[in-house]
């Protein structure tokens, strides 16, 4: 249950992801972006931060780091790949997830807790949540405004691929609860096959009561559990 965490120059949540996987019972390891092999990892996390300084566009240069060919091959083969925050931006730039993350509608860097409704509890990443559950975790980004063209957005909605949606404490999805202007309050999506997840908020900063929330931990225990079941099968 080895989970590779990709470290780019400018990544700053790689250690948070490492600790989250560890607490969830998995075996995390760091993979430097100049590597060309994932070293037999069972899953991959692309962590948050500012890979390559976010120059040009967030994720645009990271997407061409040497390790990304291996990540793309792994994902296309059905391997489990999670992108959190900057990692979500990298996966969109790499074409593993549809759409793009634009500048926040407010033009401000948003750094605060948010709430999201779990729209799908039947993915490999959310099996430890309940459908409709309202979870709380931090977000921290300038470019988290999810955009996709109308056809792509319809595909995501019709295919049930919106996994997390920004909401208020009561679970109501509203403009007031939308921190960045994302279309349809989208906070996280999966690809068509369901093996690639991207999300802007940080489950990796919500795995211990000392951090103010443990609502991120089920994401990692879901992932580690899925890997454990795959190992048995």
């Amino acid at each position: 249950m080895n989970v590779a965490i990709i470290t780019f120059p400018g990544s700053n949540c790689d250690q948070d992801c490492h600790r989250s996987v560890d607490v969830a019972g998995g075996s995390p390891s760091y993979v430097w972006h100049r590597e060309t092999s994932l070293g037999g990892a069972d899953a991959v996390i692309v962590p948050g931060g500012f890979a390559h300084g976010d120059y040009l566009r967030p994720g645009a240069i990271a997407r061409f780091s040497p390790i990304m060919d291996a990540v793309i091959d792994f994902a296309r083969g059905g391997g489990l790949v999670v992108g959190i925050c900057n990692g979500f931006q990298v996966l969109c730039e790499a074409g593993l997830l549809p759409g793009a993350l634009l500048r926040n509608e407010s033009l401000r860097f948003q750094s605060h807790d948010c709430r999201m409704r779990v729209e799908r509890a039947d993915t490999v990443y959310t099996s430890e949540y309940r459908e409709g559950q309202v979870i709380r975790m931090p977000l921290s980004h300038a470019d988290g405004n999810y955009y996709a063209d109308p056809e792509t957005l319809a595909e995501l909605e019709d295919g049930g691929r919106v996994v997390f949606r920004y909401c208020d404490a009561g679970g109501a999805v509203s403009d007031a609860a939308n921190p960045n202007g994302s279309l349809n309050n989208i906070g996280g999506i999966v690809n068509e096959r369901g093996n690639v997840l991207g999300m802007m908020p940080h489950p990796d900063r919500a795995f211990d009561p000392a951090l103010g929330s443990v609502d991120g931990l089920p994401l990692f225990t879901s992932l580690v559990g899925a890997l454990a079941r795959a190992e048995v099968a």
């Binding site: 040009l56 566009r57 645009a60 240069i61 061409f64 969109c92 730039e93 549809p98 759409g99 793009a100 634009l102 500048r103 926040n104 509608e105 407010s106 033009l107 405004n145 955009y147 996709a148 063209d149 202007g181």
Partner: protein
Amino acid sequence: MSRFTVELLVTPRPGLLDPQGKAIHHALSSLGYDAVDEVRVGKAIYLEVTAATPEAARERVEEMCRKLLANPVTEDFRVTASQNGGAAG
């Protein structure tokens, strides 16, 4: 082979929300510039490119746009090439 200065303009696609443009539009309006109907903000990238012809330089940069310099989901681009001084060494 000659050296060309290639100017690349990358702009948000029409209809795409452009909060920066909106903020600048708002600032212009508050300064009294009521004649401005819309503001869109993109970026300009300048490249010095060695190529046989300006068309070849432009085509090369268009390829770079499709691969890296522009995001086709959100951005349009326009490329113009102009000869820059003498022949490249």
